[in-house]
Symmetry: C2
Subunit: 361 residues, 2 copies
């Protein structure tokens, strides 16, 4: 088993990574947690892994409740939170209980936010079941829901007590979801690790045919990078913002398409390519690196071109981004593969870029 430590003082926790780990979750958690667990999952994951998890928890002596949500980013709302809260109250869960997120990023974000806010905070554990959640969203404590006006606009920084990653679950992951997860994997290479980016260029085929060794290696590497960045900057005052590479325009794509046309990772892929082009247009990044980024995104079967919306629509949404200050938008832009920095981009500059490159005039 691989263990990656997320070093956050009193809020430190371990990421456990091993094939078949869902079946050993009960044992893994038995020392550290209270005796009552509420597992939150969705209707896609429940038939695949909920029974195995519940059996493992029950065998370790936990009393287990379950909440099965509908599957999809469009359900990541305050209304769904209300449903979760009412059910937790119905279970009689108290502060000695804990939540378990069994699912992808949507389940993890909502379960984490429920844990952050139910009874003003109870413990929770992440068991991510998509590549995207395993390499990114389950680690670092960002939780929350979307508003109709913007993605992740409501939430909390709230760390899990443990992350349990079972790479074997990826064998049942739809190919489109796997590709979407690869967008975040590629992101880690661009923002901080040129060697890892080159590894991905060499091993993309093995990863995409779900080679277990290649997958485990990717997950461990990504979790280590995420853990390191989170430890240095839990609340995104500095370096953690680099993890938003591709997300500023990516979020706008998701918002403008009503969270319906693109998976989060697909939108991030579009956002990374746009950010690379923007960096090139600003003279920050050479064309060779831009082409390598676009090439790897394309080979991963991900979209590179942004959907056509008027520039004014993109601007309007990006000016509501959490990372904006005043009337500039802060973009994470690559200088080269392995190095990015935050750059404020003025509205006018951004409008010119969007009009010229992505959007309808």
């Amino acid at each position: 088993m691989h263990t990656v430590d997320v070093d956050l003082g009193l809020r430190s926790y371990d990421i456990h990574i091993d094939n078949g780990l869902i079946g050993r979750a009960g044992t893994l958690l038995s020392a550290a947690m209270g005796r009552t667990a509420a597992v939150i999952t969705n209707s896609t994951i429940a038939p695949l892994y909920l029974t195995a998890l519940k059996n493992s928890l029950a065998a370790a002596g936990f009393k287990v409740f379950e909440i099965v949500l509908p599957d999809g980013e469009q359900f990541k709302t305050l209304d769904t939170m209300h449903v979760i809260y009412d059910q937790l109250l119905g279970f009689g869960l108290d502060r000695s209980g804990f939540l378990v997120a069994l699912g992808g990023g949507v389940v993890g974000d909502m379960t984490g936010f429920a844990a952050a806010t139910f009874l003003r905070g109870i413990p929770f554990v992440q068991i991510p079941t998509t590549l995207l959640a395993q390499v990114d969203s389950s680690v670092g404590g960002k939780t929350g829901v979307n508003l109709p006006g913007g993605k992740n606009m409501v939430g909390a920084f709230y760390q899990p007590k443990a992350v349990i990653i079972d790479p074997l679950v990826l064998q049942t992951l739809p190919e489109r979801e796997l590709r979407a997860g690869l967008a975040e994997v590629i992101k880690y290479g661009v923002i901080s690790d040129p060697g890892f980016f080159a590894f991905l260029e060499s091993n993309l085929r093995a990863i995409m045919r779900l080679d277990t060794a290649a997958l485990a290696s990717v997950i461990v590497r990504c979790c280590s990078i995420k853990a390191d960045i989170t430890s240095r900057d839990e609340r995104e005052q500095g370096v953690r913002a680099h993890l938003n590479f591709g997300h500023t325009l990516g979020h706008a794509v998701e918002t403008l398409t009503g969270y319906a046309d693109f998976l989060h990772g697909e939108a991030v892929a579009i956002g990374m390519c746009a950010a690379a082009q923007l960096a090139q247009s600003l003279g920050l990044c050479g064309s060779a690196d831009v082409h390598r980024i676009e090439g790897l995104v394309e080979r991963a079967g991900l979209p590179v071109a942004a959907p056509q919306f008027p520039a004014v629509d993109y601007l309007r949404v990006m000016l509501k981004d959490k990372k904006k200050t005043g009337s500039t938008v802060n973009f994470v832009l690559p200088h080269r593969i392995g190095e990015v920095a935050l750059h404020p981009v003025s509205q006018d500059r951004l409008r010119a870029f969007l009009t010229g490159n992505l959007a309808m005039p």
Copy 2:
């Protein structure tokens, strides 16, 4: 001006107490906060104090938005939170902005929860306008909303950047609200300060005719006690639970009556008398102290008797209390005036007490 420091390391802040302070809020905040403020208040307070506050903030160079909520505990819901979030998003408020709670406990709790969760956390300031909020709910960082199934079931521990208390606003407070606030004032005497309890016994008349010196003295004393307890135990792992004296049964009264018949302080008054009687019935507290508590509550014009509901209803609601563990309910019970402790009370014991003392059989 009196200043009480709430010592919480990096999250420390000051409580500023002075007559006329709302008119100086802008100056007071000008050094510490970002340049954009969203004031959240209610339809009762807005006509009285919103203009003065906005003028003060504007004069200090702040850009000011406002949200006026309907007045009442029944609006302390997730639905109202959704309205707040949508408006904040509409203002284009970003992480360099901050919220201002201008109102009583309901406005403060919801504004604090909005600050804790909008964009995963932005700063906020409390300007409490009821006695209850000035002496209790605005200090200590408890924020949240009610669920249909229970009070304050969803929320966060999230500290304000400052608390600004203007005792003059109490001159316009309805008498019933003043009395409700006195319940929490009396609470401080019972849980930690026999001298203060005696002061209240001697000065109740002056306080109730809104003598400014007596009121200022009461507010400073209560804030000091609350600040001290909060500093020692921010997240209610220990001594902070003492602040819940009267609240366990009090919350049940509020829940059973749909938050409509009793103000929070009135329910706490009922809960304090019930807790004193329960303590006496368990041999923990002598009858003389129980009578002093009931006597002061009664002289403050507060209810002492719980509304008649079947014991099973009280039990059901109290077993959902945040402070319960397993099938016992943790009560804060007085040993004498100035000293309380947490006591687990079994369901059976509690049922017998409720049946014999408060509720319909």
